[in-house]
Symmetry: C2
Subunit: 242 residues, 2 copies
Amino acid sequence: MPASKINRFRRKLESLVSLATTDGDLVDRILTQQDLVPARADLVPHDDREGGRLILMEGFACRYRNLAGGRRQITAYLVPGDSYDLDVALESGADHAVMALTAVRSVRLAPAEVSALKEESPDVAEGLRLAERIEEATLREWLVNIGGRPALERIAHLFCELDWRLQAVGLVEQDRFEMPITQYDLADTAGLSSVHVNRTLQELRRQGLIALAGRSLTILDRMALHVLADFQPRYLCLHASV
Amino acid sequence: MPASKINRFRRKLESLVSLATTDGDLVDRILTQQDLVPARADLVPHDDREGGRLILMEGFACRYRNLAGGRRQITAYLVPGDSYDLDVALESGADHAVMALTAVRSVRLAPAEVSALKEESPDVAEGLRLAERIEEATLREWLVNIGGRPALERIAHLFCELDWRLQAVGLVEQDRFEMPITQYDLADTAGLSSVHVNRTLQELRRQGLIALAGRSLTILDRMALHVLADFQPRYLCLHASV
DNA sequence: CGCACTCTTGAAAGTTGTCAACTCTCGTGG
DNA sequence: CCACGAGAGTTGACAACTTTCAAGAGTGCG
């Protein structure tokens, strides 16, 4: 199986719950109809009325919101294996949109498909519940990050989190991973200007913590980066209590 | 019935779903055993192992997190009628604590009581689900607020939200409500210094938008305040879709 | 090759934080 | 009844952080 065909969604579920082979196959089967979406396109537009319900197989995307004055705030990243809105039985209010940050391969599911999947496999359902909880904890963590830390720590924390999440789905090799997020997007994520993001990245490089060239990020000193960012990954590794 | 005895929790549920009288009585009955907690005390400590599961009847509280360097970030306010952690069937990870911002009257529930309540009344269960969704939307809104708006708009938005939420539980009279949150706490909420919060409040007063004296906040020009803050309360008024 | 997008840089301005002191209010104890 | 002390609000001067504006350099793709 070519690397690009690895089912990151299955992989993510397996990092949260243990799946029987049959459950895994079930998950594989549901993901046959994949869409290709170019970078910068909306996967779920602001005026979406029917709910998103998608799974990201390849590429990066983000949940964001436009503000008065032309600014934009990114409120979450979606990396391969992540899902969006899979559990919500509610008119979404549609105050947020989802945009592809890179070219993306994704699966859009009908409500019936989601409920069928959850009914056929309680373990998958549990995994989705956990994923949703982690998503919420991550949101809280971002609030703490943006509200409480200066630029250097803030960006460092973002990288720590990305590193951790990408490891969970097998996208980190030798402390190196693809980081195709532009500095403009990082700025809209961290609540900083792109110019300041640029200077902050330079400082992280100068301190020997990371190497960032093209779209490839290398963590040179993970320990030091964690300390700088005060990174405590507990929120990313919740597990079922029962 | 004295004003202080109004059941704000019931009132909040009724703003989300329509409750039969029997459901309402059921809610009333569960809230007999109320605790009094003084200001500044932890309602749910960081090291809490058994989950919070509480309902706030009177007073203000906040969910917060301590950061390296002595800073503190508040991630949510609890006002009368709000609940905490009622729906979570998961070890909470306990990376957050809940503190009373004022003297507080609250109810702590056992897991069994919560599930019994939800089983006996599907409408109450639905209300709790909605409340949880609103909580999450509010969290996202705070991220947007802190990440994307300058101090003046940020504080203004906070007040718009408080105004709206307190109206929902009948705690606003003639554009005036009790606002017992100190400037230090506002600072930890907005990611600003207390000195800057002070100056920002003065600017809001100077512009004739609010009057703030003692613990009483008056909205002098709600329209203008909403415009300044770019306040769109959609996120606070989700309703059941089905 | 040339365009579009991204990254980088410098200088100046604006916003926000820090420090330190002073005032005000209110509840407690003398 | 008044003095006291703790917590909260206010102020000024200064420093630090971050943004804005503007321009140039690098990169990849049609």
